[in-house]
Symmetry: C2
């Protein structure tokens, strides 16, 4: 009887996954390909699927299966699955179907409004759908419940175990340690950009990016790279992981590091145990862990001197104008610290200041202190205080990121957790296995990838994020490894 | 009560359409983008969705709604919807769910096997999945039932009102009339191909194709063109119609006429009444009508002298090496009749011989006269007898078309119906409205498009195909207009 209940859950999970992965394709397609006028119908499709998923998962029999399944299961995997099913079922049954569908539909339209608002740098075009999404997120959080802050309920969706207070403390402490590094790093002598001038033809960028992604282990028979305004990674099936990037003909590094970043996410997706697909343990565990993988490959690998010692000849092959630049030159060029407007283009040192700004604003929005109409003003005020110069238009300010248009709040702080985790994991991995460093020096990335496979990817969601880090490294992550790394890399005088 | 039953059907129809259009995206994606290793999971997705659709539509309550709805409905639209729901319900309830799912899953794998078999020109790689698909189609046909030939049940899926006997007679008569034209046309003096030599860069081809597709009325805010090995058109949402084509750097006409053809399909899809989406009458009515639209724009418009008088300057703009060629030269070049291997590259005169070959083979397969293992031999024997020279490998023979790998049998003959319908519609349209010819001469395609919109596109599936043709033209279609057209265009001596 109990075995049957567990099997029923597994069967249901597989169905929900097949359908959910189809929604992922609808969503990917919306960002990459969908014709402009197709948005209304796509919203209706997304809404219908969300409603169907909700109905299917919140049926009373599912609650009965969950109650029954506990009696007989024994393995660690089964227990972890049940832990997650319980949590998800509790969360989902607290939401009315109307809210689920309204959220799914609203975010499709909001994304479309945001795209136009950003193009025109006109926040007013985005204010109404944003207000609606924030209201819906409020309502979700009230349904889910929280102990201290309403914002906690939103954070929990992306990072189990995190909270407003914990993040305030972690990010605040990080900021204290970053400030002196930022100050010193941004005052280093600048690399002469004229030595790195374009044009860098898109086809040549694509060829180099593909070589690099393959070299670090991304499997192109189980994935692809496409072009999109917003770079992202979608693991939409066990053998179908799709990255997007965008190209700047004047700067090949923009797409190269974009691809390294998204391929880092992609390696995690491709490394999840295929046979668990459709079970909760088959999923990536949290965004803070996901982002550790992208930042690891982008920054710890891609911005290292060893990387450029390997790849400079290939870069020159694709971009002959780079002839005469050394690996040291490129290392210097890609590790310049500059206070700038755009988060995704910012360097490792100043990046977390961008996150802190967003975290503080979201906290204020969901505590009711900040109204939507005041977001641009508040953004600009805080930006100037952190970065020292004013925002000139909202496209380079509060309209730059896609997240809010997708109804995603509580997501940004996981980027800083990712930076912290990446440095912490990298430090442990290098100490664990000397073949990793030797490998990196000669362009063999498999020892590092294997370490991540064994300690992170293959674990899926068996452990909650904090436990996973402790299992992998022997202790909780703190900012010390990140700070050490930044000092070593950026304080060169 | 009855009104409610009809409303229930409408509501269900909308849901099935939303999901069906999602399956269309899964299928489009499989042909255009899906990474190689993603095929197994995609097959599982397609199978699951087919099973879900089957369950949802064959529920007993749906039969009750259909029985009840007839009492109160009055309008022509409602009656046509009910006619189609009845037909679809009868057909679908006759199939066991197991068969529906097995068919959906098998065709995904078969398509993948066919791709490899065609690349390697090795029929043996395709024989097993093809055998399986033919068995499943046999089983479907037995479930659906038929009066004379089992093959009739398969044809009915694509062309209501057609049958083996009717098609044998129509295509046989067409062949008799074509033979003397083929003989004379293929013996005309040949155009000097060296005057049309490449390279024609892909970007320039894309630019010209886009201009042409826009000029005939294809709306790129509600559609797009992508690259795929197999050119096709998918109307996957009311404002999302996607064409595919492939590029040959030595021959820009290959992609140009491919796009004109697919855009013809696309105009039909974009012209279907949006407000009917999800009702049977909102669908295109048959493949023989669909193909009339593609062949109309490809051949009657795109291969006309008037077209090249308009477009020669743009072609020269994109491909400067064409400077010195006149519209008459291009007209001659794109209207050469040649007996050749590949159906999709064949000219208007010899095209239907390719169809006849396939029709005869399918008839023999489903009457049990032809075993799968004997298909290549039989194909080659008949090809040589019709075309006068031997097939050298199966890639240019029985492996050239994708259709069988998708489990699509009974589809090919609708291509010839499309040719017949296109000529018949074009003749009537030109007689009906003198603005059409004037428009074509000055590159204004809207009078012709408007005629098709009013007489074909906007009718959706209100009428069955034969009735639609009579409504539009005053009489049934026969091959006379096609034969006249071919004589006029090809017999130039």
């Amino acid at each position: 009887m109990s075995a049957t209940a567990y099997d029923n859950l597994k069967q249901l999970g597989r169905e929900l996954q097949l359908v959910g992965d189809t929604q992922a394709l609808l969503s990917w397609d919306q960002e990459v390909l969908l014709p402009k006028k197709g948005i209304q119908y796509r919203a209706e499709q997304m809404s219908w699927f969300s409603g169907w998923q909700h109905d299917r998962f919140t049926a009373p029999e599912v609650g009965e299966w969950i109650a029954e399944a506990g009696d007989s299961i024994e393995s660690q995997e089964e227990k972890a699955n049940l832990r997650e099913w319980k949590h998800q079922y509790e969360q989902e049954t607290r939401l009315p179907k109307r809210l689920v569908q309204e959220f799914a539909e609203t975010r499709v339209h909001a994304q479309s409004a945001w795209t136009e608002a950003r193009q025109k740098s006109d926040f007013s075009l985005f204010a109404e759908p944003l207000t609606k999404l924030i209201e819906l997120c409020h309502e979700q959080a009230e349904c889910w419940g929280y102990e201290e802050h309403l914002y906690d309920a939103l954070i929990d969706k992306f990072e189990r175990g995190a909270s407003t207070n914990k993040l305030t403390s972690t990010l605040g402490a990080l900021r204290e340690q970053l400030i002196p590094i930022v100050e010193e790093a941004t005052n280093q002598p600048k690399f002469d950009r004229s030595r790195l001038s374009g044009p860098f033809p898109v086809e040549a960028q694509q060829a180099l990016n593909q070589e690099v992604a393959e070299a670090i282990g991304f499997d192109f028979e189980a994935g692809r790279i496409d072009t999109a305004v917003h770079p992202f990674c979608s693991g939409m099936a066990p053998f179908d992981t799709r990255l997007t990037t965008r190209y700047d003909e004047n700067d090949f590094c923009s797409s190269l590091f974009g691809v390294l970043h998204e391929a880092g996410h992609g390696l995690y997706e491709q490394g999840l145990p295929k046979e668990w697909r459709g079970q909760p343990i088959g999923n990536s565990v949290s965004l803070g862990i996901h982002e550790s993988q992208s930042r690891l490959w982008e920054n710890h690998v891609g911005r290292s001197l060893a990387f450029w010692e390997q790849w400079m000849p290939r870069a020159i092959h694709h971009f002959p104008q780079l002839m005469g630049l050394s690996a040291e030159d490129m290392f210097a060029a890609v590790n310049e610290a500059t206070l700038s407007y755009i988060r995704v283009e910012s360097d490792e040192v100043t990046y977390d200041l961008h996150i802190l700004l967003r975290f503080e604003l979201e906290r204020a929005i969901f505590s009711g202190e900040l109204a939507v109409k005041d977001i641009p003003g508040e953004w600009n005020k805080r930006f100037e205080s952190y970065f020292g110069f004013p925002v000139e238009n909202d496209s380079q300010g509060c309209l730059q990121d896609i997240h809010w248009s997708m109804g995603i709040f509580g997501y940004f702080p996981t980027y800083s957790l990712g930076n912290i985790n990446a440095a912490h994991l990298m430090k442990t991995a290098l100490e664990d296995d000397s073949a990793i460093e030797t490998g990196l020096e000669k362009g063999d990335y498999s020892p590092l990838l294997n370490w991540m496979r064994q300690n992170i990817h293959e674990k899926g969601s068996i452990y909650l994020p904090d436990d996973l880090i402790v299992k992998a490294t022997g202790k909780p992550a703190d900012a010390s490894a990140l700070v050490e790394h930044l000092q070593r890399r950026y304080i060169r005088s």
